[in-house]
């Protein structure tokens, strides 16, 4: 018996075909490759599917065939292939298989599968008795990569299966040498959901590990559930694919009470009941706001580095330098401690609620904590991925805070009576930039970019866009070797087990004396929109004095809310109360105000504009103190960014009378020219147009409305405190006689006049 040896025909360019193939459109869901059986016998399952091997092909040997009959229908072969059998036209194979195989002589073969195929495997072996690579592609481009296959008893397993509704429609196989295909197996079944339920937040959903399951990557649901998540690692171990409800961004409220976008509370999902054998989750990180803390520290360093580089040594002498380290602020770190500690009760009660909706005696509920993100070594912290975004002090401090959060979660699990897995040992040595290889994404575009610019002013990008979504989350190795291994190790080491073989829930620790939550700050976004839009390049950038609409939420309905502006120029405190309002029944506020005229903005030499803040402060429904905040750019008057709508000039106030009255004045005296502008929050310097006031001689009876005159002088230092009333102390000249018109031009371009009679 001889192995078939034929000259290689000049067939289609394998690479070209592969590219075309990989470019075909891909239905919803994900296709996964599995080659783990290697040269071994085909396992009864592939992914979550039970596989059915193809029956013996009854057709004559050595005929060329275009298809192969299978249990769910025929598979197509292109080009035609010769029907042979191991030891009957094809000498060797692997795993003891002696059945049908198919050889076309081509370097590239396409297998077309019956509709609804959820999983398919085949074996392939090169024609020559030597090692060659063989590569397989599913129709979406999912590939085995080059697999080295020995032509002498080395037929290798290639398996593809769909998740999230994906089906396999065709497989392209290519190699630099001809080869035979055979030993097929197929499944058209649905995913056999077991009694494993995977709940949780982004660390459970697989955030940062695309592609995500269909329907969880927009447009109305961004839960970002990934087949690389640890729940699928556990599923492959325990043979029970999860009811997978973990969702990026979830808090404890999204377990028990609160729908997130289109997803109902996780505990109300199908399968979360007494039939569940195993429930896993991570939760609490978002309740503690840990991701905000991390991002805040990154931005503080970025901004501080920018400002410090602009102000230089002299800026440092003048105290203009900013500390790049958030960990140096006691106020900040204390606030973070409080937020972490306050996550205890929501987590504990959520875990008790979880036990309430399952069978606590037979459903193993296992909570896990979070890994420490940063390497302990300052040398490792100095890697490119970290040193520009965080200080060593910040990374050290955040590891401490991560430990604090993990301790809170462990205590909550203990008191609730659920199992707890500390994943930190599994991640030890694998933090971001760790020398042993990281199990975590650093700043990453894994799940999507963060936009072109994080903060721009007047069209100038001050801080480039942070690629954010999926950053600081476990990567595939972190899910497999971190979370997956930690869960599997915990489950394997359990001494007391449920009837399903998973760790029994522990007896709850006694509740400690009740400690109420500490007062907590709640933060949210404050939306700011211009009443009069500027140029399209001026997003979020306004002029002092411009009218804007400010809206926020998260307040206790019916309670008062104060709106503050913060900026240099607003007095010693840097703050001004701009308006007060009351939250509506939905806890929302919306009001139109002016950016304080006196706001100068945090500006740097050479910068086109500065920045300022609005804070809406009141009672929160989820926090004792709610602060909705917006950062805005502040451009110079006259800039194309923004405008100043007409100021509400109420008029001159005593001792100055408004026209047509004529104000008698003794020449040489100083005149307190007082006026008010409602809602302006300005100073004289900020409300007066440059070069004004001016004055000129006019007729006492017909002064007219001139717009220019001689510059005037003041003999008093104007107040620097922002207000709605203004006092310009006009120093008159002792030589003046007759009537003069004082012309006050404001920054909105309006003119206001008063007539003074200096006698004869």
């Amino acid at each position: 018996m001889h192995r078939i040896r034929l000259l290689l025909a000049a067939l289609a360019c394998a690479a070209g075909v592969a590219m075309t193939f990989a470019g075909t459109s891909f239905a919803a869901g994900t296709i996964v490759f599995d080659g783990s059986p290697g040269t071994g016998a085909p396992p009864p399952t592939l992914g979550p599917y039970t596989m059915t091997p193809f029956p013996a092909d009854p057709r004559p040997l050595f005929d060329y065939v275009a298809d192969v009959p299978g249990p769910t229908g025929a598979i197509g072969l292109s080009p035609l292939a010769q029907h042979v059998r191991v030891e009957q036209g094809w000498n060797t194979w692997s795993n003891g298989y002696l059945g049908d195989v198919y050889w076309s002589g081509a370097l590239t073969n396409v297998i077309t599968l019956p509709p609804g195929t959820s999983a398919f495997y085949f074996y392939a072996e090169p024609n020559p008795y030597a090692v060659f690579t063989i590569t397989a592609f599913a129709q979406d481009g999912t590939t085995s990569g080059p697999v080295s296959v020995d032509g002498f008893h080395g037929a290798q397993y290639f398996g593809f299966y769909g998740l999230g509704g994906a089906t396999i429609t065709s497989i392209l196989v290519s190699s630099p040498i001809d080869y035979a295909l055979g030993e097929f197996g197929i499944s058209s079944g649905a995913v056999p959901h077991g009694s494993y339920v995977a709940l949780g937040d982004s660390y459970s959903s697989g955030e940062g590990n695309p592609p995500f399951f269909a329907g969880t990557d927009g447009p109305s649901d961004y839960c970002h559930r990934s087949p690389l998540a640890f729940s699928y690692v556990l599923a492959s171990i325990y043979g029970s694919f999860p009811f997978f409800y973990a969702c990026s961004g979830a808090t404890t409220a999204n377990f028990t009470t609160t729908p997130k976008d289109t997803e109902p509370p996780q505990l109300s999902e199908p399968g979360v009941d007494a039939s569940a054998a195993l429930v896993t989750f991570t939760i609490g990180g978002n309740d503690a706001g840990f991701s905000h803390v991390l991002k805040a520290c990154i931005e503080q360093k970025l901004k501080a580095d920018f400002i410090n580089s602009q102000t230089g040594i002299i800026g440092g002498w003048l105290g203009l330098h900013q500390d790049p380290s958030c960990a140096h602020s006691d106020t900040f770190t204390s606030s973070v401690d409080t937020a972490i500690d306050n996550a205890f009760w929501p987590v504990k009660l959520t875990e008790i609620a979880t036990l309430s909706v399952v069978d606590p005696a037979n459903t193993s509920v296992i909570a896990a904590d979070y890994p420490l993100l940063f390497p302990p070594s300052h040398d490792d912290q100095g890697c490119l991925a970290l040193r520009f975004i965080l200080t060593n002090d910040d990374m050290d401090w955040m590891n401490v805070e991560g430990g604090r959060l993990d301790a809170v979660l462990q205590q909550a699990a203990g008191e609730a009576g659920v199992n707890f897995v500390d994943v930190r040992p599994a991640f030890a040595g694998h933090a971001i930039c760790d020398t042993n290889g990281s199990y975590l994404n650093a700043l990453s575009t894994a799940s999507g970019g963060g936009g072109a610019c994080t903060w721009s002013v007047a069209g100038h990008c001050i801080i480039p866009g942070l690629p954010i979504i999926g950053s600081f989350h476990p990567n595939a190795a972190g899910h497999a070797n971190g979370y997956g291994a930690a869960f599997a190790g915990y489950i394997a080491s359990a001494t007391v087990r449920t009837s399903h073989g998973f760790p029994a829930n522990p007896v709850p620790l006694p509740d400690p004396p009740s400690v109420p939550n500490q007062p907590q700050d709640g933060f949210a976004d404050l939306a700011v929109h211009p009443v009069t839009a500027g140029s399209p390049d001026c997003s979020d950038t306004y002029q002092a004095g411009q009218q804007v609409t400010v809206s926020g939420d998260g307040f206790q309905p019916g309670t008062p809310v104060q709106l503050y502006a913060s900026s240099p120029g607003l007095g010693d405190t840097g703050e001004a109360l701009v308006a007060a309002t009351t939250a509506n029944d939905a806890g929302e506020i919306s009001l139109t105000v002016r950016v304080p005229l006196a706001a100068a903005g945090f500006t740097q030499p050479g910068a086109a504009a500065g920045m300022a803040f609005f804070d809406a402060i009141g009672l929160g429904f989820a926090a004792n103190h709610q602060d909705d905040v917006a950062m805005i750019g502040l451009a110079a008057h006259g800039s194309e960014c923004g405008t100043i709508e007409p100021l509400n000039f109420v008029g001159f106030t005593p001792p100055v009378a408004n026209p047509p009255a004529v104000n008698p004045v003794e020449p040489g005296r100083s005149v307190p020219v007082k006026f008010s502008i409602a809602g302006s929050n300005g100073t004289l310097a900020s409300v007066l147009a440059p070069g004004y006031p001016q004055s000129l001689p006019v007729s006492c009876s017909a002064p007219g409305e001139p717009t220019t005159g001689d510059p005037t002088t003041t003999n008093a230092t104007a107040s620097t405190l922002p207000a709605d009333t203004y006092n310009y102390v006009w120093k008159t000249d002792s030589s003046w006689r007759g009537c003069r018109l004082l012309i006050v031009k404001l920054v909105d371009g309006s003119y206001h006049r008063a007539v003074f009679d200096f006698g004869t």
């Binding site: 982004s202 961004g249 109902p264 978002n286 203009l320 963060g450 954010i468 999926g470 933060f523 976004d525």
Partner: protein
């Protein structure tokens, strides 16, 4: 520039929230969706299932939470729907408490979807006339079976409108 360092640090925390909007991260924007005017919260609040508690209930607390857009850093954001949560204590047998709400929920048009540790219905679903899907969960917050009085929570939530 005179600026309180502690406020500056707090400011940094706040800036993170503000800049997330500018970053244009996934999960939908704040501009669209939610619960304009609190209509869905109003609808849920007036659902008859919340109009009564078991006769022997004590310490009744009702919390209404409006819809809210959240954007956690490094993750996707989205709308949390409005909720109404009733927390109370009862020394009645748990079966009586669950049956009380099962009857009220059914009368109010809620459809049972699951049962929990006691084998009694504890989850329901409903679609309001405006198409808003709603869920209702009843769960115990007391683990000890021997407790004289148990604390319960009835949680209703409606999906926020998608923009």
């Amino acid at each position: 520039v005179s600026f309180d360092p502690s406020r500056a640090a707090r400011r940094a925390l706040l800036v993170a929230l503000g800049s997330l909007l500018a970053a244009g991260c996934g999960g939908g924007g704040k501009a669209a969706g939610g619960d304009p005017g609190g209509r869905r919260l109003h609808e849920l609040s007036n659902d008859p299932v919340f109009a009564a508690t078991p006769a022997a209930a004590t310490g009744v607390d009702v919390t209404k939470t409006p819809a809210r857009h959240r954007q956690p850093a490094f993750q996707t954001g989205g709308w949390d729907g409005p909720t109404v949560v009733v927390t109370f204590k009862s020394s009645e047998p748990p079966e009586d408490v669950y049956r009380f709400y099962a009857e009220r929920a059914e009368a109010a048009g809620w459809k049972a979807t699951a049962s929990g540790s006691l084998g009694l219905t504890d989850r329901w679903a409903k679609t309001y006339p405006d198409g808003a899907p709603a869920t209702l969960l009843l769960f115990s917050l007391t683990r000890a079976a021997s407790a004289a009085a148990r604390q319960y929570r009835l949680a209703g939530g409606v999906a926020a409108a998608q923009g």
